[in-house]
């Protein structure tokens, strides 16, 4: 640190905060001290301060507390204070336990090991190349060795066995560190680069395979230490003196980088990435002020400095393609902005269609952001806000502290993309099809909300959505989707029975049995198969075993349509009564009154299932009808080929 008195002042403030058990002040001053000083003594000082207020960190800042076990064949102890401080700065408190040096096989495989008994939330597996693929350096020495590939496969198989066996008996999340590519070898730089079986090339292949392996193991993330080393400089990453003397894996002056890399990796196992990036326009998405310079005057396109902004636009488009939602929050005239996107389309990397929603007006940005959160039904803690104005940034930081704020570097637009990619808030170890499709789904959601705000009555609003419900057999939903709905639906799920595929098939094939799925679309989009009901006849009654609906479509009368559909089929099969059951869980309160709301009468409790509430409806006395704003399609008795009724 430049200024010793400033350093002492921060240390004094940290001590005060610790004495007062003021977690937020301790972290704030700790962050300042560590940002300015990389002295190990300051790190140990902060680690010890943080550790002494660990309960306050979890209680006051809701830091995530993780029992963490380090399986290792390296010396990790001097790095632990760095791991502690970096974790606290990311709002984790690690209760660390370090395993025996090199006893990782027993620890991971023996059900009576110290590791198994520790019952960790998280384990780090930090092994040396010698442990993972010790023969590779020799086998690769000539750059053409034909046993290299076999050794890679063997190393992979050993690691797979280690991780899979561990996983079969333990649910702790796993961080597995890959191999570090040595900087210097006997083959030399040219040989390493050009020969297919050089150590460098072999280790790159091994690391790729190890990463793919980690991907197949649940809750396991691959920590690419080699990438980190390459970014910061391989030549300085390891101090051979200390590696050979003490098995210290990294040089003392990169302890904090190494610890930060570990934290960033394991974070993806515990924290969902943020979902929305809200960008300002003037001097952020493009250079200059649109209102002053007009659409032709703003800087964007292939020439400097417009290409700085074009880079940022492309970066946003890349985020969007893996499911990060983009929104505009800008103080501008909306018509001007639309004109700019039109006339400068050739110079812009984005169109307005790339944005899930826009708030282009003269309102406070914090209220625009609040509205966006509401319209998208997303928490503010999943938002990132990018703006060039320090005043706007500070206002958002103060009023909406959950939002991550990125201030565009003043007069240095070329730094914006680097600044953004250095952040961990969009980190994810996997991207699913659902993520990729998120933009369309949320666009539809935002439009529905906007319509709800403008439409008068609820019925009018629902009618304006043009909702179409299509009934299909649960076997053709397809069946895998039906089973997934049974497994995942919690809120609107009357009995929460997690039936298997074969059980669903039994409902479909039994006499008087029903296995109905419902598919829903409206003028904004197709929500897909979102509901399911299973029923079978018993005597004069049709018994509803399961009825559930994805929470995305609750409140539009679709549940009523599903019930009415069951009733209609029940009457056709000669049933007089429709009987329902509600089993309360921690999560399904939203459907607690479903049966009474539809005219069902509460029946007597049963000893065999004391939790359940039973209801019945006399089908000869009351008629169930679907809400009139729904258009119904399809007519599945199960014998009817459902493919005929699935709408395009």
């Amino acid at each position: 640190m430049q200024n010793e008195s400033e350093r002492q002042e921060l240390r004094r403030k940290i001590k005060e905060a610790v004495a007062a058990q003021n977690a937020s002040a301790a972290v704030q001053h700790g962050r300042s001290l560590l940002a300015a000083s990389s002295k190990p003594s300051d790190v140990v000082f902060c680690a010890s301060a943080f550790t002494s207020i660990d309960d306050s960190l979890t209680n006051q800042l809701r830091a995530k507390r993780l029992k963490t076990y380090i399986v290792r064949s390296i010396t990790i102890e001097p790095i632990l204070p760095f791991l502690t401080t970096e974790s606290v700065l990311s709002n984790y408190v690690l209760d660390l336990h370090v395993g025996g040096y090199g006893s990782y096989v027993d620890e991971m495989l023996n059900p009576q090991s110290a590791l198994a008994k520790f019952n960790p939330d998280l384990i780090f597996v930090l092994l040396n190349l010698e442990d993972i693929a010790g023969r590779l350096p020799d086998l690769c020495a000539d750059g053409i060795g034909d046993s290299v590939d076999a050794e890679i496969e063997e190393a992979l198989a050993r690691t797979a066995q280690l991780l899979r066996s561990f996983r079969s008996g333990n649910s702790a999340r796993i961080l597995f560190q890959g191999c570090l590519v040595p900087d210097l070898t006997s083959l030399g730089d040219i040989g390493e680069a050009n020969m297919p079986r050089s150590l460098t090339n072999a280790l790159h292949r091994l690391n790729q395979k190890l990463a793919a392996l980690c991907n197949t193991i649940s809750d396991c993330v691959f920590f690419d230490v080699d990438h980190l080393a390459a970014r910061h400089g391989r030549a300085h990453w390891r101090d051979n003196r200390m590696f050979l003397a003490s098995r210290l894996p990294v040089a003392a002056n990169v302890f904090s980088l190494f610890a930060r890399g570990l934290v960033r990796s394991y974070s993806t196992l515990f924290r969902a990435p943020r979902k929305v990036l809200c960008t300002d326009l003037d001097n952020t998405l493009w250079g200059g002020v649109l209102g002053e310079e007009g659409p032709e005057g703003i800087a964007t396109g292939s020439a400097f400095p417009g290409n700085c902004f074009l880079d940022y636009q492309k970066y946003l488009r890349q985020l969007s393609s893996r499911g990060i939602l983009l929104a505009i929050v800008s103080k501008n005239n909306e018509a001007d902005v639309r004109e700019a996107f039109q006339t400068r389309a050739a110079d812009l990397g984005l169109t307005l269609d790339n944005f899930v929603a826009t708030k282009i007006n003269w309102n406070e940005k914090s209220s625009s952001l609040r509205e966006l959160a509401e319209e998208l039904s997303l928490g503010l803690d999943s938002f990132v806000f990018v703006d060039d104005s320090p005043v706007e940034c500070e206002a958002v930081r103060q009023q909406l502290p959950e939002i991550a704020v990125i201030e565009v570097p003043h007069q240095e637009p070329w730094r914006l993309v680097d600044l953004l990619s250095a952040q961990s808030f969009f980190d994810a170890a996997v991207v699913t099809d659902d993520d990729v499709n998120r933009l369309n789904e949320y666009k539809a959601q935002a439009q529905r909300t906007e319509l709800a705000n403008s439409a008068g009555s609820r019925d009018e609003f629902l009618a304006s959505l043009d909702i179409v419900c299509t009934f299909v057999s649960a076997l053709d939903a397809p069946l895998a989707r039906s089973v997934q709905l049974l497994a995942k639906t919690n809120q609107f799920n009357l009995t929460t029975r997690r039936h298997s595929a074969s059980e669903v098939q039994q409902f479909a094939s039994s006499r008087g049995g029903q296995a109905v799925a419902i598919r829903v679309r409206d003028r904004f989009g197709d929500a897909g198969v979102v509901g399911l009901a299973l029923a079978r006849n018993l005597g004069d009654s049709c018994i509803i075993d399961s009825l559930l609906l994805s929470c995305r479509v609750i409140g539009r009368g679709i549940e009523t349509a599903l019930l009415a559909h069951l009733a209609e089929n029940a009457i056709k099969t000669g049933a007089r009564y429709l009987r329902g059951e509600f089993i309360p869980t921690k999560k399904n309160a939203p459907c607690a009154d479903f049966y009474p709301d539809h005219g069902f009468v509460r029946g007597p409790a049963r000893e065999a299932s004391p939790e359940s509430l039973f209801y019945q409806l006399d089908l000869t006395a009351a008629a169930l009808t679907s809400p009139r704003w729904l258009t119904l399609e399809g007519n599945e008795p199960n014998e009817l080929s459902a493919s005929a009724v699935v709408t395009s």
Partner: protein
């Protein structure tokens, strides 16, 4: 025999050791060492050595590191390396 005082240890060295060993700077005297401070185990020792190397821009010979078991021995080794204390 007079007890040695922390005043006899250069303040920069004293402060580093106090931080790493989690003791107060006054407790760091020339004769403080592996045997006198409970916290001073082999890992704190390695940590202290690394911190001291970083602070003074020196590198100790690994085979000597284990022998630097008291403050005065560390101080002497630093002086031999020409570190400005």
């Amino acid at each position: 025999m007079n007890r040695m005082s922390s005043q006899q240890v250069p303040s920069s060295l004293r402060d580093i050791l106090a931080d790493i060993l989690e003791i107060s700077p006054e407790e760091v005297t020339p004769e403080t060492g592996v045997g006198t401070i409970e916290n001073w185990d082999s890992f704190r020792h390695l940590q202290a050595i690394l911190a001291i190397e970083g602070e003074y821009g020196v590198q100790f010979d690994p085979s000597r590191i284990a022998e630097l078991t008291t403050v005065s021995l560390i101080q002497a080794e630093l002086a031999a390396k020409g570190a400005a204390l």
